[in-house]
């Protein structure tokens, strides 16, 4: 029998020199965040009445949501299309989405002037507001993600609950709770998996509708009524590259052999998705005749071209080549470029394209804003590392072929 892959908690030392550097970044980010909470947004950020939204929205939230798209695209592939060979990547993708969205929610809260009112949209509804729709969808999807994660927790701890000290009295009740959860979810998980995909499609597209209301304030290269479609298409096309990218980094960092065959197969699916996205993006440009703006040499036109060339066309070429999609380097560079392209697209849409009529100074993120954003990324990496060491997420080859019922979730 050939190697059989089973998700297993990874055993290794948590702190390495690299992890300590990342830890330092996280600490600095948290310190600036504390300053923001004590002294107000103005003390830490360069936000102004001209530029009300900065990189905390453009990168932490908008790009964060897009780059967490690996969660719903792999869920659709693994569970809805029922392609079992991809199940080795479903769990890492789920964890990335879970952490990604948790930090999106946290970033939103930290950007709110009145963060302690973040629950208001739950009871104060404005159906006309795109932001309301995005907010509700993200909250619902975050809940779904946590539910989807429960089977991993039950798998890890059923029969192994061992609480320290006086809490050990709770071992039995906790264990039976986990068993009940596991049993119920085993039968109902499909409801949540489909809901997760629907909710993702809804808010990924609505995220694009967000900036449409800025009207003439937004540069015509990006301002289009099909922005929701473009956001959805780009989110779908960045899903698999994100999974490939992470899988390669995780295997490198933990000294594992990358699942090259699965990743290559995943890679072959990227080109058609990128192609559709490119077609709509160029088609929109032709129909609205915004290519005239490419003639002028401006920050906007240059960044738009970089977004298209490096973010779509070059990776499209890489993923179209069967030879390159079989190599680790080809997969890594192609994926990194798609991720870069979508990241830049969200920054462009939310920050570069935003052009208020009355300007005193251009917006550039403050040191505090940049360090908080880096801190969030660092925290996410640290948590990812901790999670894959505690929970069975990353699949490793098993010598014994004992199939657990948890191997395929959501049956």
């Amino acid at each position: 029998m050939e190697d059989y892959m089973k998700p297993t908690p990874l055993k290794t030392k948590y702190f390495t020199p690299g992890v300590i550097v990342i830890f330092a970044f996280a600490t600095v980010g948290i310190l600036f965040l504390l300053a923001r909470l004590i002294f107000g947004l103005g003390a830490v950020t360069n936000l102004s009445n001209q530029y009300p939204w900065g990189i905390w929205i453009g990168i932490d939230v908008a790009a964060g949501v897009a780059l967490a798209a690996g969660g719903f695209t792999t869920a659709a592939l693994g569970h809805i299309m029922h392609k079992e060979e991809y199940h080795v990547i479903v769990r890492p993708a789920l964890l990335t989405a879970l952490l990604g969205y948790t930090f999106v929610a946290f970033s939103v809260a930290m950007d709110l002037g009145r963060w302690y009112y973040i629950w208001h949209p739950l009871i104060m509804w404005n159906g006309n507001s795109v932001l309301f729709e995005v907010g509700m969808c993200v909250m619902a999807y975050l809940t779904v993600l946590y539910i989807e994660f429960i089977p991993i927790v039950t798998e890890r701890f059923i029969g192994r609950v061992n609480l320290p000290g006086f809490l050990s009295a709770l071992n039995k009740p906790v264990d039976s709770l986990l068993r009940i959860l596991d049993k119920t979810l085993d039968k109902t998980m499909f409801i949540f998996i489909i809901a997760g995909v629907v909710l993702s499609c809804l808010h990924q597209s609505s995220l694009g509708t967000l900036m449409v209301i800025a009207g003439p304030k937004m540069h015509p290269l990006w301002q289009t009524p099909i922005l929701p479609l473009l956001f959805l298409l780009s989110a779908i096309s960045v899903g698999f590259p994100m999974v490939i990218f992470e899988s390669l980094i995780t295997s490198k960092s933990f000294g594992l052999k990358p699942e090259l065959k699965v990743l290559s197969n995943l890679g072959t699916m990227v080109a058609p998705l990128l192609g559709i996205y490119l077609a709509f993006k160029l088609g929109d440009m032709v129909i609205r005749q915004t290519f005239v703006y490419l003639n002028e040499f401006s920050v906007e036109s240059v960044l738009f071209l970089i977004e298209i060339f490096f973010g779509i066309i070059i990776p499209l070429r890489i993923f179209l080549s069967p030879k390159l999609t079989k190599t680790r380097a080809g997969l890594f560079i192609g994926s990194a470029l798609v991720i870069f392209g979508v990241l830049l697209n969200r920054i462009n849409n939310f920050i570069i394209a935003y052009n208020p009529p009355y300007k005193f100074a251009a917006y550039f993120p403050s040191i505090g804003e940049i360090l908080v954003t880096l801190g969030f990324v660092a925290l996410e990496i640290l948590l990812f590392r901790a999670f894959v060491m505690i929970f069975p997420i990353v699949s490793v080859p098993q010598p014994v072929a004992s199939k657990t019922k948890f191997f395929i979730r959501g049956k």
Binding site: G42, I80, G113, N128, S129, F132, E133, G215, P225
Partner: protein, 300 residues
């Protein structure tokens, strides 16, 4: 009585309902966002304004904001720089000089335009903004979560935010003196204006007045009432002697400020049909794939 029409019945029922609910609530229960023909507005004649900035002082006083004494407003040095309304002043007067008439600079009072179809009302995640029946667009501190999406949405770049407050920072903008006008008083700026550059009245009447002014003094005014049709109409209307772009008014189309977002939004969510259809479709695909897998395994 037996021939009471349905409409009448509903009317009676509504009146009865509001009486039962208590009269003070009647105003609150009035339909929001329905434009009243009697809604008010202000006509700003920039050819009359002398830039005394008394309106700035009156506005601050009426809103209990700190302000230096009125005499200090005689200093015209502040006019050298373009200013925008912010959390310290809800209205500002800017001055524009032109080479052809250096002796007669043009002064333009800036504040919230109180759109008929405001982008802020449409955008606000918690519905903290509302268009009132009398024309004012006002903000509710009890709902606002400080997301600043209203600022992203506003085509006139008006709402300002208190960035240096950690707790209960507010969105600040002209509220059309809602507190004063609902008691029958004039907006503070209109009341104080010594030149009568500001005229408060029914928006309909103001447009008539503005048209007549343009007709009577074609040399004095350009033939354009700013705010009559811009972004679907605004409560504040402007007359000027030169093109409004020269006075830094944003060039805006005639479609309402929320633009196409509401159409897109309601399209994606029309009766929740698209999400439900997608859910059903995915469910179907999942079921088929699962069964196919099963039958394949069974055959093996």
């Amino acid at each position: 009585m037996s021939k009471q029409t349905r409409r009448n019945f509903i009317k009676t029922a509504a009146v009865a309902g509001s009486v039962i609910a208590g009269l003070p609530q009647k105003a609150k229960a009035a339909p929001k966002n329905i434009l009243s023909d009697d809604r008010m507005g202000v006509l700003v004649d920039t050819t009359v304004c002398v830039g005394c900035r008394k309106c700035e002082w009156a506005c601050k006083t009426a809103h209990n904001m700190p302000t230096p004494p009125l005499e200090t407003y005689d200093n015209r040095d502040v006019m050298k720089k373009m200013r925008r309304p912010d959390h310290t002043s809800l209205t500002v007067v800017n001055e524009y000089e032109f080479d052809d008439y250096p002796k007669f600079p043009i002064d333009v009072k800036v504040q919230c335009m109180h759109c008929d179809h405001p982008a802020c009302v449409s955008a606000c995640i918690v519905g903290a903004f509302s268009k009132e029946e009398n024309g004012s667009v006002i903000w509710d501190t009890n709902k606002c979560i400080g997301c600043r999406y209203c600022m992203v949405a506003c085509p006139f770049q008006i709402p300002a935010f208190e960035y240096h407050k950690a707790i209960q920072p507010e969105i600040k903008k002209c509220d059309f003196c809602f507190g004063r006008t609902s008691k029958g008083k004039l907006p503070a700026c209109v009341e104080i204006c010594p030149m009568e550059a500001l005229t408060y009245g029914r928006r309909k009447d103001l447009i008539d007045i503005a048209r007549r002014k343009i007709e009577l003094y074609p040399d004095r005014y350009i033939n354009h009432i700013y705010g009559e049709t811009e972004v679907g109409g605004t409560a504040w209307l402007y007359l000027a002697s030169r093109k409004f772009e020269d006075l830094q008014f944003p060039k805006l189309g005639n479609s309402p400020a929320p633009g196409v977002t509401e159409a897109i939004q309601h399209g994606i969510f029309a009766y929740f049909l698209p999400p439900i259809a997608l859910y059903a479709l995915l469910g179907g695909v999942m079921w088929i794939n699962k069964n196919r897998k099963k039958s394949e395994e069974g055959e093996e």
